[in-house]
């Protein structure tokens, strides 16, 4: 499916290909060795979290709760929280032992969540109930729920822990929620079917993907209003086939990567000018995104081709695609 597999008939071409593969393997090996990173991928229909090394080699599988989706590290990175959409739980995975050690009950059909800065509270979007639910991770008890528009998805808690941004896929708005007064303070109109967020490192901008508008809306956190938009176009593809979902930003805040869903590509965007620099072919229905700690590698989970694409962010090329369970959802990169 990926373009890497182009069968070249003559020997010369084969040699070129072989050299390229070797060279890339070397590059990948170096990256892996230098950082010893681990890439975790939640696989929705396996009920497992797959563990890869930085080069995409499968190391192990962790049995978790039913239909694992979004994942985050605990602040000390010793644990992984994984949101389980079918068993309505937040699974707690101990990284050292590689086992799920606890579960926290959640509201119906949770998908995406974020943590309070101290890591003690999880704020979870519950698609079916149409609420943002706050759960105390220490006592494992629900704290409060805030009614949102239909099918809430993306959740982003501000760094001071006082506010949360939540997308409503049905209502085409981003709710700005005051977590102290537990009220929606503003509905920010964005594009159609808003999905997920990325915050700029300086906290001044929030980027939100609009799945059915082929765009990203840029929210100015000073005014809490949309101040710009990135529209995605790919030559030879129609706007309706470009369905952005995942957004991540590099640590220097200069580059954003956006997964384009059914367009099977990821886009590299210049944050300052909001111009698309280039697009890279990934797998079928590219959604989940994670950057390596040095931002040199982008991990892309492809929900319909059941694999993960490794993109060299400097070369702007997909280097390798590896099998990743059944319906891989979220990649998470850790040391």
């Amino acid at each position: 499916m990926q373009s890497k597999k182009s069968p070249l008939p003559n020997v010369q071409a084969w040699c070129v290909q072989a050299w390229r593969v070797l060279a890339m393997a070397a590059v990948l090996a170096c990256a892996g060795a230098a950082q010893a990173q681990t890439v975790y991928v939640s696989s929705e229909k396996d009920n497992k979290v797959l563990v890869f090394d930085a080069a995409g080699k499968l190391l192990s599988k962790i049995e978790v709760c039913k239909r694992p989706r979004h994942m985050l590290f605990s602040p000390d990175r010793s644990k992984i929280y994984v949101c389980c959409g079918d068993s309505n739980q937040l699974g707690v995975v101990d990284r050292a032992s590689g086992k799920m050690v606890d579960t926290v009950p959640l509201a119906d059909s949770p998908e995406i969540f974020d943590l309070s800065p101290d890591g003690k509270v999880a704020y979870v979007s519950s698609e079916d109930d149409g609420v943002l639910a706050a759960v105390d991770l220490t006592t494992r008890k629900p704290l409060f729920q805030i009614k949102t528009g239909g099918e809430p998805e993306g959740v982003l808690v501000t760094r001071d822990g006082k506010f949360a941004y939540v997308t409503s896929e049905e209502a085409n708005v981003v709710h700005l929620i005051d977590l102290v007064s537990k009220k929606i303070v503003k509905d920010i109109q964005v594009g159609n079917r808003p999905r997920r967020f990325a915050a700029s490192p300086d906290g001044r901008e929030i980027w939100v993907s609009n799945e059915l508008s082929a765009s990203v809306s840029v929210i100015d956190t000073a005014t809490q209003a949309v101040k710009g938009r990135v529209l995605f176009q790919i030559q030879g593809m129609r706007a309706s086939d470009i369905t952005p979902v995942g957004v991540v930003m590099t640590r220097d805040g200069k580059t954003a990567w956006v997964s384009l869903g059914r367009a099977n590509h990821v886009a590299e965007v210049d944050v300052a000018t909001r111009q698309v620099r280039r697009t890279v072919l990934a797998g079928k229905r590219a959604w989940g995104l994670a950057l390596s700690q040095d931002d040199k590698w982008l991990y892309v989970t492809n929900g319909l081709s059941d694999d993960m694409t490794l993109v060299d962010t400097q070369a702007g090329k997909a280097i390798r695609t590896v099998a990743a369970g059944r319906v891989p959802h979220t990649p998470l990169v850790g040391p």
Binding site: S109, D128, K147, G150, A171, V173, D187, R193, S240
Partner: protein, 394 residues
């Protein structure tokens, strides 16, 4: 007869909880127009649950549409409510429509038999946009089309094209056609022939079936006798009623799949659709209506959402201008079927994917992979711009 208040508590509660100050919410009203004695909703008929037929009245679907649109509309300074406008019979319909007009209800979701459309179009004039949520007849999109009439339910030719695409994609290219004698069956046959020709499906034979009490005609409803030929890949049954088609799957002489009115059926929606937010929509609907959601419900739900998308941007414009906006293809609706949906310029039909499904799940979605179109792949389903006989323009 008109209006319904008890079921809006959820909405009121939501508004209290959120307590967002709304400057001056313009409230728009949508009416669900139907007939009390509509034969499609007779209780014995509903019990049959024939595939592709309505599973119940569309009231809950319109309610769900309004509830789903509420928060987004509020952010744009609008509100929307749905009222029921049920006439006891066709003769009473005129009175109900005049009442809607007098109340200045500008958006009508029509769930009436095909024969009542002309009356509704005439009654509405320029003072309401109409949304057809349950009639598949091509003629309503063709010679009887109207400037302010939109269709969120797929047309018969969209269903037939979807099926033909699926058969072509599987290389099941030889079909034995079993066709009923009703005018509605005849219209299905016309759509089938058009689609089969488009996608290269060969009709090896067409046989007429007949459910009859006459002993001399008993053979005409005998699945084994009707399917005795060997050289076909599928049995296509064109049966608008559904009773005969139900007797066919697993009862044919040759081991062949049944498609059309039973077996594999082209549908606007399926309760087991598991992508693009389908499970959420199905669960929300199930909670509200206490029954699974089917195609007509989907069309009514999406009709209300279309009104919401329209008024949130263009509520100031006069209705003919609003209709032009809808027909411009630039007002988009999320129908939980994958791509964003918009209305066709030439006949007001909502372009949308169609499911190829059996009773238990969705086997495929049309347009099938690999089917191409010069401008919009969704327009490979149904009557395209150049073929459309519709002349009415808003």
């Amino acid at each position: 007869m008109m209006g319904k208040s008890g079921r809006r508590m959820g909405g009121a509660l939501l508004a209290c909880l959120l307590a967002v100050p709304v400057a001056q919410a313009a409230t728009h009203t949508v009416a669900l127009v139907s007939l009390q004695d509509d034969p499609r909703y007779q209780s014995r008929r509903l019990e049959r649950h024939y595939p592709g037929h309505p599973a119940g009245r569309l009231w809950h679907a319109t309610q769900l549409g309004a509830a789903d649109a509420e928060v987004g509309l509020r952010a744009a300074g609008h509100a929307l409510k749905v009222l029921e406008a049920t006439a006891s019979n066709a003769a009473e319909l005129g009175k109900v429509l005049q009442q809607l007009k007098a109340q200045r209800v500008a958006y009508w979701v029509l769930d009436v038999p095909e024969a009542q459309f002309a009356q509704a179009v005439q009654a509405a004039g320029h003072s309401a946009l109409l949304f057809n949520a349950s009639a598949p007849a091509d003629v309503l999109r063709g010679s009887q089309c109207a400037a302010l009439l939109f269709h969120t339910y797929p047309s018969q030719s969209m269903f037939s094209d979807a099926m033909a695409q699926y058969l072509a994609a599987r290389s099941w290219r030889h079909a034995l056609v079993l066709q009923g004698g009703d005018p509605a069956d005849q219209r299905q046959a016309e759509a089938w022939q058009r689609a089969a020709k488009r996608y290269g499906i060969k009709t090896v034979d067409t046989k007429v079936f007949k459910l009859s009490g006459d002993p001399r005609e008993r053979d005409l409803a005998n699945p084994r006798l009707l399917t005795n030929d060997r050289n076909h890949d599928v049995v296509a049954v064109l049966d608008a009623d559904g009773e005969f088609a139900r007797t066919l799957p697993y009862a044919t002489q040759q081991p062949r799949p049944v498609v059309g009115a039973n077996g594999l059926v082209a549908l606007a929606w399926h309760p087991q659709w598991e992508r693009n937010g389908g499970p959420q929509v199905n669960r929300r609907f199930g909670r509200l209506a206490q029954r699974p959601m089917v195609g007509q419900d989907w069309a009514a739900w999406v009709a209300v959402k279309s009104v919401a998308a329209l008024v949130s941007e263009h509520s100031q414009a006069p209705l003919p201008e609003q209709a032009r906006r809808l027909r411009s293809g630039q007002v988009f609706v999320d129908g939980a079927k994958g791509p964003r949906l918009s209305f066709r310029a030439w006949d007001g039909q909502l372009r949308q994917p169609v499911f190829l499904a059996h009773v238990d799940g969705v086997a495929g979605t049309a347009p099938l992979d690999g089917v191409l179109h010069p401008t919009e792949v969704l327009d490979t389903l149904g009557v395209d711009e150049k073929e459309s006989p519709c002349q009415a323009k808003p």
